[in-house]
Amino acid sequence: MKILIIEDEKQLVKSMAQFLRQESYVCEVAYTASEANEKILLFDYDCILLDISLPDGNGLKILEKLRENHKTDGVIMITAKGSFDDRIAGLNLGADDYLPKPFYLPELSARISAVIRRKRFDGNNKISFHEIDVDLLGKTVSVSGKEIELTRKEYDLLIFLIANKNRVVSKNAIAEHLSGDDAELMDKFDFIYSHIKNLKKKLTESGCADYIKTIYGLGYKFTA
């Protein structure tokens, strides 16, 4: 799967590409708007990560160009300007998602997979990990064909972990994914721990292998 990163900060691009390549994404980079304009016309991408403020132009113009040329690439806007107007303008121009800086790479990864799934399967899709099947439309999870009951948070947690499978995800990233700004209120370990514990219990009780590994109190890794 091909991803185009349009971002002028080389260090950030390097980290994003490094992280996403582990997920076997093919990452291409455009550091300027003109480079980006060239690439989007020549190639199709599964997902474009678009920084709004570029040295030689506004990223919103690139969005317009994509739509003018009837491209259906998924687009996630990334911006340092947490500006509401930009977000609305971007989403109106057909961007699929919006991620303000600074962000966790696992969060980016989860958003990318969500965008790609939506684009590929028209929203009607399932994801699987060994004996776990998730029906994203019906929001149901089954283990070896047998449906299990998960709370909303446990379901979100499972999707997030599967999107970041084989990678260490810090509990800060999980907390923010599950609770947004409310995450700053709590002792993350307690909060995350209870959800992880419940999810683990529900999965293993229905005969699923224990895929959630604890990494020293730093976070968790979902791996076979």
Partner: protein, 423 residues
């Protein structure tokens, strides 16, 4: 006391002293002038009388005639004397005035003259102005003068203060109403008075420059916060990659976690600073109808897991309320107040949220403030050293209330902190 009153007071005092001093001086000088005039005319009369008499010296019985004439005339007294030498003497005497029944001052000139080789004493008298009457008349004139002067000055002062000082008061009122973060600039009224124009020019210059510096400062904070987002992203992304390196040790993981916590703290701080400067820069001016009750319920529902961790109970009494507001600001306002309540509630404590009559009241049980309650809404005034708190939450609440003209109150009473916002 007004400036004009001060100057008026001096003016009045000066005029009063001047008028009071002028009374004796005028009396003295008028008297002097009258005396001189009277003396002159007495001398003239005497001279002419002597001349006339000389021309009648041929008459035989002049002596007899003079005696009769003396008895007939009132102003002139001619009596025989025995002083042969010539001489004149001026005198002021008092005589009884039979008409006014009082003593009246007269000026007399007594001259020794010789008529037909016989010495006579010629005394001519002229009435003088009565001292008392003069003082009275002058006094009345001066008093009228003082009254007219004072009344004139007062009236003049009033109309002056109204007309002349109008531009000054206009400028003053504009300055009073001036708020660096809201008002555009002061537009002073054009006057013909150099001092006021000078003052107005200086004030305009000063406020314009202050405003420019203030705007630059605001822009700087916003730009700085923006610019910080990118290095923070790089930092976080490097940490995310670092976590993936195989063979991570336990101490390595702990360090990574600490680094990430610190990065998050920076990011949160930066986000709040950016939010503050955006509110300052009026970037949240779109207003829509918002169901405050529903929003409150939604936010509180999301917070239940956090409250449960501290075994904090949340009680609500929420009456329907819809207000016109900016959705972002309102959500931040509520979130910050709720976060603050939950963060500072003791374990097993209680938070209550109530909406009645356009007032949102949030209470939480907790320890009394260690800091001055007046400082509770100031930036970076933290109660204790909570690592999760940026110290900006309540400052943002205050800023939003100031911007949207909501009334914000805080008090602490018998172990309960109460925040209220009147919309």
């Amino acid at each position: 006391m007004r400036l004009l009153q001060v100057s008026l007071r001096s003016l009045l005092l000066y005029s009063l002293i001047l008028v009071l001093i002028s009374i004796p001086i005028s009396i003295f000088s008028i008297r002097q002038i009258i005396n001189e005039e009277v003396d002159e005319s007495l001398a003239l009369h005497t001279n002419q009388f002597i001349k006339h008499i000389k021309s009648y010296e041929y008459l035989e019985d002049l002596e007899m005639d003079l005696k009769i004439w003396d008895q007939l005339s009132y102003d002139i007294v001619l009596t025989p004397s025995d002083i042969m030498s010539a001489g004149q003497k001026y005198e002021t005497i008092s005589m009884y005035d039979s008409i006014e029944h009082e003593l009246h001052p007269f000026r007399t000139l007594s001259s020794n003259i010789i008529i037909k080789d016989k010495p006579y004493l010629l005394t001519i008298k002229m009435s003088l102005v009565d001292n008392n009457e003069l003082v009275m008349a002058l006094g009345i004139v001066q008093v009228i003068l003082i009254v007219l002067l004072a009344a004139g000055l007062l009236l003049l002062n009033r109309s002056l203060s109204r007309k002349l000082w109008k531009p000054f008061y206009n400028t003053l009122n504009q300055l009073k109403a001036y708020e660096l973060d809201k008002s555009e600039s002061i537009i002073p009224e054009k006057t013909n008075i150099i001092e006021f124009d000078d003052l107005n020019k200086t004030i305009s210059h000063l406020t314009d420059r202050n405003r420019k510096v203030f705007l630059e400062q605001k822009e700087f904070i916003e730009n700085a916060s923006h610019e910080l987002q990118t290095p923070l992203s790089i930092f976080q992304s490097k940490l995310d990659n670092l976590m993936q390196i195989p063979g991570l040790t336990e101490s390595g993981a702990a360090t990574l976690l600490d680094l990430e916590e610190t990065a998050q703290r920076m990011a949160r701080l930066n986000k709040n600073l950016l939010l503050l400067s955006k509110i300052d820069n009026d970037q949240f001016n779109e207003v829509e109808e918002i169901d405050l009750a529903a929003l409150t319920k939604k936010l509180l529902w999301n917070l239940h897991p956090m409250a449960d961790l501290g075994n904090i109970s949340i009680q609500t009494t929420i009456n329907p309320l819809a207000i016109k507001a900016n959705s972002t600001l309102l959500e931040v306002l509520l979130t910050n107040l709720f976060h603050n309540a939950i963060r500072h509630t003791n374990v097993n404590g209680k938070v209550t949220v109530e909406i009645t009559d356009r007032v949102l009241t949030i209470t939480n049980t907790g320890n009394p403030l260690k800091m001055n309650p007046e400082k509770i809404f100031e930036r970076f005034s933290k109660e204790g050293r909570s690592e999760n708190s940026s110290g900006l939450g309540l400052a943002i609440v205050k800023k939003i209330c100031d911007t949207c003209l909501y009334e914000l109150h805080y008090n602490f009473h018998s172990g309960v902190h109460t925040f209220s916002v009147a919309f």
